[in-house]
Structures are given as structure tokens and as C-alpha cells.
């Protein structure tokens, strides 16, 4: 399944399918991006990051893609599991080194059994 980011806050996918969560960031000068996962009642957890000098970065079951031309970030989750159900936020650092991250609205991922 694929979301269109901020305009579709909920993404439902079947267990075992791949998920794609999109994010449009705001500042062309942002040089660092993070994806966070937030489960109900908990604080956000780091998933993966990417610097602006990269287009793609892979982790365990997750891949982040960065398209600086259109200021777009995506998170791909392979073989989605029930434990992946959460809200996912992208965050950008608009001024290198300030760490004053700007967070997106978030996308809720629901994994269907």
C-alpha cells in the first residue's frame, strides 16, 4: 500500500505486504532527515535517518528514499508486521547543527491480519 503523505493520515496494509509512507518536507536547506515511529501512549522511537548527500539508505526491513528535487521523503517497510502498527513521523533539520527539527503531521499505519 502507498500513502500520499500528509493528505492521507491513515494507511492500511495487509500483513506481509510492503508499506510506503510518504512525506513532503518544507525547507530545501534541510540537510538531515529522520523517520520516527510512535506507538500509542509512548514517545517517538528512531527508525532510520538520512543525510542530504544521500538518495537512499537501508536498515533492517526499512528503506528511506530522499528526492531533494521535489522535497520528498519516503519510508518503505518490507513484509509489514502487526508490530509495525503505529504513527510514523518524518522530521527535518532545517538549519544544520541546530537540531531544531520540524516534524510532519504523521501517518497512521494499520496492519490488517
Amino acid at each position: 500500500g502507498e500513502s500520499v503523505g500528509l493528505h492521507l493520515p491513515t494507511l492500511s496494509v495487509q500483513e506481509g505486504d510492503n508499506s510506503i509512507i510518504n512525506c513532503a518536507y518544507s525547507n530545501s536547506a534541510s540537510d538531515y532527515f529522520i523517520w520516527y515511529k510512535q506507538e500509542s501512549g509512548k514517545g517517538p522511537q528512531f527508525i532510520i535517518d538520512i543525510r542530504s548527500n544521500m538518495d537512499k539508505r537501508q536498515g533492517q526491513r526499512v528503506t528511506v528514499l530522499l528526492n531533494k528535487t521535489v522535497k520528498h521523503l519516503s519510508l518503505q517497510i518490507a513484509a509489514t508486521q502487526p508490530g509495525d502498527s503505529a504513527v510514523y513521523f518524518c522530521a527535518e533539520d532545517p538549519s544544520s547543527g541546530t537540531y531544531k527539527y520540524i516534524f510532519g503531521t504523521g501517518t497512521r499505519l494499520k496492519v490488517l491480519a
Partner: protein, 113 residues
């Protein structure tokens, strides 16, 4: 597992009361932050600190105040709580260096009646 702790996790108080939300981290991080998050919404930076005796207001105006007397401790205070202060408050920290991600606490959910 990040070593950053927030207390209380939940607080229900009446209008006009003074409250302090506690945040402590044991990682020796210089940078600490307070974010405000309404249910299902994005995180907004309200305060940050780059070290002891350094505090700055974030992008979202807040009537709360903070202090940073010790590296590990970054409390947030509301002198006179109002219903408009009802929200979740998330504390975070980060290190000065190559790793730029924020480590979040579990949050303090405040309800002002």
C-alpha cells in the same frame, strides 16, 4: 533503549495550579528539548537547551518556562495552568556529534480541568 525519563506520565489538575513536569536523562547529552503534541498531531518545539544555563524558546509560543541547572535535568513549569494547556509534553535529548537523532521520553499527558 534510551535513558530518558519523564514524570509524571499522567496528570489531571484544576485551573490555576502550578505544575512542574520533570525530565531527566542519563546519557550525558548536552542538548535537551521539550515538544508539545496534541492527539494525532505533529510535534511542536516549545523549548530547547544546548547546555547548562542555556535555554531558548522554540517555534511554538508557550506560557511554560524551563530551567537547565544540571546537564541531566530539564524541568518544565507552568505557573498557572489553564484548559488550553491540556496536551502531551515530550522531552528529548541528543548528543553533540555525528549522531543527530533525538531520544524521546515516554511523555507527560497533562489535563487541565
Amino acid at each position: 533503549e534510551a535513558d530518558i525519563y519523564q514524570t509524571p506520565r499522567y496528570l489531571v489538575i484544576g485551573t490555576g495550579k502550578k505544575i512542574t513536569l520533570e525530565c531527566s536523562q542519563t546519557m550525558g547529552h548536552d542538548k535537551m528539548y521539550w515538544y508539545q503534541q496534541d492527539p494525532g498531531m505533529e510535534l511542536h518545539l516549545i523549548h530547547y537547551s544546548y547546555g547548562v544555563n542555556s535555554t531558548e524558546k522554540g517555534d511554538l509560543s508557550s506560557e511554560s518556562t524551563v530551567s537547565r541547572i544540571r546537564t541531566e535535568h530539564f524541568p518544565l513549569t507552568l505557573e498557572s495552568a489553564r484548559p488550553s494547556h491540556t496536551s502531551q509534553y515530550l522531552c528529548a535529548s541528543s548528543e553533540q556529534g555525528v549522531r543527530r537523532e533525538l531520544f524521546f521520553g515516554e511523555g507527560s499527558r497533562l489535563t487541565v480541568l
